[in-house]
């Protein structure tokens, strides 16, 4: 690469309470270049992008565009400077049309009024780049599109900005094979037209297919940088930086797996159909699938939060219906939600109070001994010690703890009730890499003690490393069953529907 890079980040450092997200990361991308940014979940890639797009301000370091130092304080500044970001979480408005979303905040105007015709025409042109097989009408409401089409709209939005720099944050998370191909050829087109592309992924296939250069982020540091694409093994080693074998605990032995704890037959509701599954004591079952495939809906249905409307549940040998979480909890089911801050924790309360949250709500003068045991402070303190929750004091407010320790405290909350089935949704999302291993070991210890563990995760290495058995979901039903010797490719193919796995 010659000349000044279009975009450069120098010595970026960013900390949040409890986590040092980035440490002195430097990074550059030139015209017509695809620079892959690789790293495991939680390595700090998304934080880096949010600094680039003006959402966060770095504690140290600077962002340069065409060699000029920038000071973004509002995402608008980054947009005006020519940076466009396709975020991992959708930033679309479901109640507005595709065209309105594409031109959000920058609607074309004629005589001071919004020029609807121009908006629709430009939308049609940009969507045309995807080819006719993905026909999306500009006046459709985004809420009426499926997840893959929504992702396409998100991508079209970034392209229509004619940005100098386009950042794609795991853009294929919700796409199937043929949609991925469409995206890849678009990336090629953009590169040919001179756009600088920062492509974030942890899938080696995409790096090999697309990237000109590669930078690996691990634990908030840029640990390796390659001016050409090396062999996948080299990148993976730089990403993981440790032996896989000791990262994930030993799987269950056949004799560890016991009786059936949960059996669902023909379970269905608005998002699910024909769900047949069995979860057994002592085993960890991983649930893989694309976004919107129904994995979270299934967890919610089992937990009674959004109940099944059809089918039968047998739990612990008895036929049951769980019409709300309280029913499910009373029967012995616990759930750790994917979004800890939104629906898992009371951030302003102490660690100990968070641990006692559920047992308190079930304890009373004639309550079960199990619940009452942990309503007293000493009992919970002992349990938190056992979990090895690291906090200056258990009276500390929850929000000051790191993600890993918050997760352990929630596990303690459920352990207080001695659950027979524990559901983890995205158990290590937003957790430091070092703390991930301890969460996996914790899950395995629970299974060894006879708990059935259901793990919903979008992180395929995690699914393969931590599960004993893997179920793949697509379009609201279970489409394949695999053991842990399966490959990421097997799971992806089943999840996208190109090839079905061995029937369950």
């Amino acid at each position: 690469m010659s000349g000044t890079p279009v975009i450069e980040m120098r010595n970026i450092t960013k900390s949040f309470p409890g986590v040092k997200a980035l440490r002195g990361v430097s990074f550059a991308c030139g015209r017509g270049e695809v620079h892959a940014l690789c790293g495991e979940n939680g390595a700090g890639k998304s934080t880096l992008i949010k600094i680039l797009s003006g959402v966060y301000k770095p504690n140290e370091g600077e962002v340069l565009i065409d060699g000029n130092v920038q000071h973004f304080t509002h995402p608008q500044h980054a947009l005006l400077a020519g940076i466009s970001v396709i975020y991992q979480e959708f930033s679309l408005l479901p109640e507005r049309t595709v065209a309105q979303n594409l031109f959000l905040g920058r609607e074309p105007r004629k005589n001071g009024l919004i020029d609807n015709r121009a908006m629709v025409e430009e939308t049609r042109r940009v969507l045309g780049l995807f080819g006719v097989r993905h026909k999306i009408e500009p006046d459709t409401l985004v809420a009426d599109l499926d997840v893959a089409s929504q992702q396409m709209v998100e991508i079209a939005k970034a392209i229509s900005l004619n940005a100098k720099v386009i950042v794609m944050d795991e853009p294929t998370a919700a796409l199937n094979e043929s949609e991925c191909e469409v995206l890849f050829s678009l990336v090629d087109q953009l590169r040919a037209s001179g756009t600088a592309i920062i492509y974030i992924t942890h899938r080696m296939r995409e790096v090999t297919r697309l990237a000109d250069r590669v930078t690996v982020i691990k634990d908030g540091e840029a640990t390796a940088s390659f001016d050409h694409v090396p062999a996948p093994e080299v990148i993976v080693r730089a990403m993981v930086g440790r032996d896989i074998a000791e990262f994930y605990p030993e799987p269950a032995k056949p004799e560890d797996i016991g009786r059936t704890v949960l059996k669902v037959e023909k379970g269905s509701n608005y998002a699910l159909r024909e769900i047949d599954l069995e979860l057994r004591a002592g085993e960890i079952v991983g649930f893989a699938g694309l976004q919107g495939a129904g994995r979270t809906a299934l967890a919610m249905a089992i937990f009674g939060a959004v109940p099944f409307t059809g089918g039968a549940i047998t739990f612990d040998g008895r036929s049951r219906t769980f019409s709300n979480p309280r029913d499910a909890i009373r029967a012995g089911i616990g759930m750790l939600s994917g979004d800890r801050k939104a629906s898992g924790l009371v951030l302003m309360q102490s660690v100990r109070d968070n641990g006692m949250l559920t047992s308190r709500s079930f304890a009373n003068a004639v309550g079960s001994a199990a619940a009452n045991q942990f309503v007293d402070q000493a009992g919970m303190t002992a349990l938190l010690d056992e979990m090895r929750v690291k906090a200056p004091s258990y009276d500390q407010e929850m929000r000051f703890l790191s993600g890993g320790n918050q997760q352990k405290a929630i596990v303690a909350r459920w352990l207080a009730l001695k659950p027979k089935l524990l559901i983890f949704i995205e158990p290590t999302r937003g957790i430091d890499v070092d703390a991930k291993a301890s969460i996996y070991h914790l899950m395995r210890d629970l299974a060894r003690a006879g708990t059935a563990v259901m793990m919903v995760s979008s992180d395929l290495p995690e699914i393969l490393g931590a599960s004993d058995r893997i179920l793949v979901m697509r379009e609201g039903t279970i489409v394949g069953e695999f053991d842990r010797s399966a490959s990421e490719a097997d799971l992806m193919l089943a999840a996208t529907g190109e090839v079905e796995g061995a029937a369950a």
Binding site: P75, Q76, L92, D146
Partner: protein, 327 residues
């Protein structure tokens, strides 16, 4: 390879998008049924229809403004106090002098805009919950007003009463004015970037910010329009009552009723979806309910109880119908 039905949009009938029209038709049918059953066909004349509509002009004008506040995912509980203040200022400044008509109107509009500006800044800049911010504003306005006046003060000149009582044929100016204002609001929401920004910020403030929209300005703008509409409603009320008093806004329960008609009109309390014609439908539904009670001869206090039940039931009904659990 055959077409994989990937992106065929699923266009299904959504009850919650058409509910205000359905409720409007239901209310009209109940009214017609009742009138016919009682044999009171004198209630079916054009004059009576206009009378029904004219009864709700203060509420209608206020609700147009409230639509903006709710669309942007905020709310305004200070409208009733603004109405009182606007009515009092109108009648005190005019004090029977036709020459003071324009200065009075200008003063009231400036007052409305300033109140909206403060509401908007407190909500968007200081991030105070809109319920608390506007309730506080309401107390402040009501306190100042009550300090100076305790009953009808000043009076408006006969020339100004034309606003409330003048007609073209049988149609009052004020009714035309309300629908013209609704048309203008619709135009702003539908065809201007500000209108589009209101839906975006109301729909998802973070997404709007990431798209480069200055969200604070949009929220402030919506609140200025909301307070301006309330001020206009106050001017109208002064014209109709021939004077203003510090309690007329609160007595009309315009704060709660304006929110109720906006919601019954299909605008979602969480923001980002709805529109001003739905609000107009909501206003008409409310007038019809009133008329139905009148025709049926319901006692005034019973009527109040029934109105309360209808408001809560309607909002609960919407909440249940438009629920879409996360996948």
């Amino acid at each position: 390879m055959t077409d994989t039905s990937l992106a065929t949009p699923r266009r299904r009938f959504r009850f919650d998008r058409n509910a205000s029209a359905i409720l409007l038709i239901a209310a009209v049918l109940i009214y017609l049924g009742l009138v016919l059953a009682l044999g009171q066909t004198r209630f079916l004349t054009l004059e009576n229809v206009i009378a029904i509509l004219t009864r709700s002009i203060t509420l209608g004008i206020t609700a147009i403004g409230q639509t903006f506040a709710i669309l942007v995912a905020s709310i305004d509980l200070s409208v009733a106090s603004v109405i009182s203040a606007a009515a009092v200022v109108t009648s005190v400044v005019m004090n029977g002098n036709p020459a003071m008509m324009l200065p009075a109107i200008a003063a009231v509009l400036v007052m409305g805009a300033v109140i909206g500006l403060i509401n908007g800044l407190v909500i968007a800049r200081l991030e105070v919950n809109p319920l608390i911010a506007t309730l506080g504003m309401s107390l402040i306005i009501q306190g100042i007003l009550s300090y100076f006046y305790n009953n009808f003060a000043g009076n408006v000149p006969a020339e100004f009463q034309v606003f409330a009582y003048g007609t073209i044929g049988v149609v009052p100016y004020s009714l035309i004015f309300m629908f013209a204002l609704a048309g203008l609001a619709w135009f702003v929401l539908r065809f201007t970037r500000f209108g589009s920004d209101i839906y975006s910020v109301g729909g998802n403030q973070d997404a709007a910010r990431l798209a480069g929209i200055k969200t604070v300005r949009v929220v402030v703008g919506a609140h200025i329009l909301c307070s301006l509409c309330a001020a206009i409603a106050g001017i109208y009320l002064a014209s109709r009552l021939r004077s203003g008093a510090p309690w007329i806004g609160a007595e009309g329960v315009y704060d709660l009723e304006s929110i109720a008609v906006v919601v019954i009109g299909g605008t979602v309390l969480a923001g980002g979806r709805g529109g001003v014609w739905g609000t107009m439908a909501g206003v008409i539904i409310f007038s019809l309910i009133d008329s139905i009670f009148n025709v049926a001869g319901v006692d005034a206090f019973v009527k109040q109880v029934l109105r309360g039940i209808i408001i809560v039931a309607a909002v609960a009904f919407y909440a249940a119908r438009s629920q879409r659990p996360v996948a």
